[in-house]
Symmetry: C2
Subunit: 324 residues, 2 copies
């Protein structure tokens, strides 16, 4: 019997392995791999069981492959449990050996925060110092943290339809960002008015940004929430203000209502929808007009982040190495 | 942050959690669930990367669901590594929370041994006391152990085209089964001649049992090796001697050459291919004629075995409970 070991990394360990800067670099590297085609990402696989869904997301690079297993159980919040649980298994590509098990929810939040940060880095003015967050869940929290790493944010505004959640969110954020002006807004209009960058992290089916061209003109939007064709966070009047609509993957055209519905309704043309990897590969940032970067995520992000976390954790002896 | 824990179970822990009798009961239970339709097993998913394959095998029962990830890297043996690595993630069906990570190769070997044992229990004479194993890998070893638990085996014969491997196999088996007569055979003819039950556990493309009706008549065959349509372990002359061909799952008709090729060549009819779950559900064993039980495995076996192992391991404090 050959002894085998796996490195188990929990939520805290995932967050502590890399600095924010390293996480952002990892996602830039993932975008460059995407642009170079230097990866293999089979279609996401779905298994349905009643109202619950199990998503299996494998991806391969030359050195590693990984599979993220995500379970979505919509009734969980009624029982005070997170709707989503996840596990990431990282393997060595050459041998197939399993190397690491990571908390998939933490990995998802961490890499989604970093992808949002990359969106901000390439599509917003370098001196932007105000950001507004609509939606106060886990993703909103990590987006806020990463936004403050890529821009000199001084004021952070929060809006949630449930005021109580917004207050709790601010209290939690205060511990991480003690020197920031943190303020809850009484409406999405107030939030957009006060913020240069607006990040949406809701599961809404209807726009959460006001449908008012005058208000939203010149603002920079980062869309994180909508990951299904029937989910929308942005209003019709936003699209005609855009030069291009930047996406994290071309799959966004099918996966999110924020792109699919706009395409269907002719609010934007197919040729305007542009993978942000093209900007990154050409080392360009965009001019300071109204902008939208829409992220839906992909297994390549999970894999590249997981391999960076794994390598660093092994180096720094983070996590539990367990015989398997 | 809600603390979450997973139970990590390694090779030794998987083998120690349940007794052989409990493992056999678990597989009987799996067959009864299969017969009752009380499970949900999506199609196996494949991802190919060069010569390597990643198989994702999810399955749901009311209380648990599980996903076995198996990587098959055919070049591994050249580097002295196992061709197959596996991980099993067990989740709670109601919440989706991940409960346990198990060594998938050990789980596979353990449940495959138990499924073979169930085959022997239902398709061979109760007083059979000799067994022959063709193929001396991990599966051959576990088949031998389980065979000795369901029948009063006194003599165990081994054949492998590589004599050295057969000798090593016997030396290893001697430690587990010290009171048995263990003997290496110089040919498959000698092995079949001396054994009432013959278990095949090779990856051969051509029959490993002699194509001789006189020799094989009245013998009881358990087929474990062939899991692809181009793999075969049984000869043409076996099929006309069979009343029925018992399989562990109806998928065997497509998945293994031992059933698919025989069907295609008209050596056996579709109506003769019978899930062994029907025997188990009706609490019958078959009459003492020539028999063949062919196993290809399915995710339901992994899931039911994993849930039994998990429950017992939690009870008996086996394994490592790690924050995730």
């Amino acid at each position: 019997m050959i002894l085998e070991f796996m490195l188990i990394l929990n939520q805290r360990e995932i967050w502590s392995a890399l600095s924010f800067e390293e996480a952002l670099s990892a996602m830039e590297e993932a975008f460059l791999l995407f642009e170079a085609g230097d990866f293999h990402m089979p279609d996401r696989m779905h298994a349905h069981h009643g109202d619950n869904t199990l998503l299996l997301m494998p991806c391969f690079t030359n050195q590693y492959f990984g599979t993220k297993l995500v379970s979505v159980n919509p009734e969980n919040p009624k029982r005070n449990l997170p709707a989503i649980y996840g596990s990431m298994i990282l393997n060595d590509t050459t041998s197939g050996e399993a190397l690491s098990l990571m908390n998939g929810a933490a990995l998802t939040a961490f890499r989604t925060g970093a992808v949002g940060g990359i969106g901000i880095k390439y599509t917003t003015p370098v001196n932007a110092n105000s950001v507004g967050i609509i939606g106060t869940g886990v993703q909103g929290f990590t987006q806020a943290l990463f936004a403050c790493k890529v821009r000199p944010i001084k004021e952070l505004y929060v809006f949630d339809t449930q005021q109580k959640k917004a207050n709790e969110f601010i209290a939690k954020l205060k511990m991480e960002l003690p020197h920031l002006k943190l303020q809850s807004c009484s409406s999405n209009i107030e939030l957009v008015n006060k913020s240069q960058i607006i990040i949406t992290t809701t599961t809404s089916k209807k726009a959460v940004v006001p449908d008012d061209a005058e208000l939203i003109k010149g603002k920079h939007f980062i869309g994180i929430g909508s990951y299904k064709p029937d989910m929308h966070e942005f209003p019709a009047q936003l699209y005609p203000l855009l030069d291009k609509l930047y996406v994290d993957t071309p799959f966004a055209k099918e996966e999110t209502g924020d792109v699919a519905t706009a395409l269907k309704n002719g609010l934007i043309s197919d040729s305007q929808v542009t993978p942000i990897s093209k900007l990154i590969a050409s080392k360009k940032t965009i001019a300071e007009t109204t902008s939208l970067f829409k992220s839906v995520g992909m297994a390549l992000f999970d894999l590249v982040m997981a391999q960076k976390i794994y390598a660093r954790a092994m180096e720094s002896k983070i996590g539990s190495e367990i015989e398997i």
